[in-house]
Amino acid sequence: MRVEILEVLQGHFGKDKDINVDSHMMDDLGGDEFDIVDVFVQIESKLGISIPEEETFDIMTVSALCEVVERHVGSD
């Protein structure tokens, strides 16, 4: 599942970016708040899940992103 998340992140921010769980989507990957929402939409579409918006507020790091996605994979 983390592979799919990484694919989405690389497809969005670029394969040349060094993306790991500690990466900050704004500070390290150069995204903005809209990019983070866009990434969530892409991940939901790719994994066929639905994450309540409230749970995605203020998520900035890849680790926090993985955590919230993992909570919903299989539970949907």
Binding site: M26, E33, F34, V37, D38, E53, F57
Partner: protein, 161 residues
Amino acid sequence: MLGQIKLVLFFLFLSSIGGVIWYVQHLQAENEILTLNNEKLNGAVEQQQALIQQQLRDIESKTAINEQITKNNAKLTADLNLANEKFNKVNASGERRDVGNLALSKPKSIERIERKRERQRARCFEIAQGSALTEEELNATKKSQINAECTNIANPNYTPY
């Protein structure tokens, strides 16, 4: 007989004098009319010249307004393109982000971001009007810490990377 001739000549002389007087008076009356007409025409010419000058000034004014509108349009188009690039930028896969579609999928998230941006815009106006920068603004060096609406004046220590 001679007396009669003199009388006739005298009447002819009187008639001639009368004719000349009438002719001169007629000429004077005509001259007065022509003088008045000439004055009226001069007045009309002055009015027309003033009107032409006014029209020339109006044309200059309209040309200046048109130039200003053209400049404003160019600036608005540039701003629109900039905003379009900012909101609907292309990601690494070459797909254009559509904030409108994102707002349909995630309305609360987009509203939240917009509210944050609104607060940042208001802060930009405060700074532009002379408000001192806060420690947080001065110390912002990361993208997540900056005021995205006016980084150049709100976060002098931030270097885009």
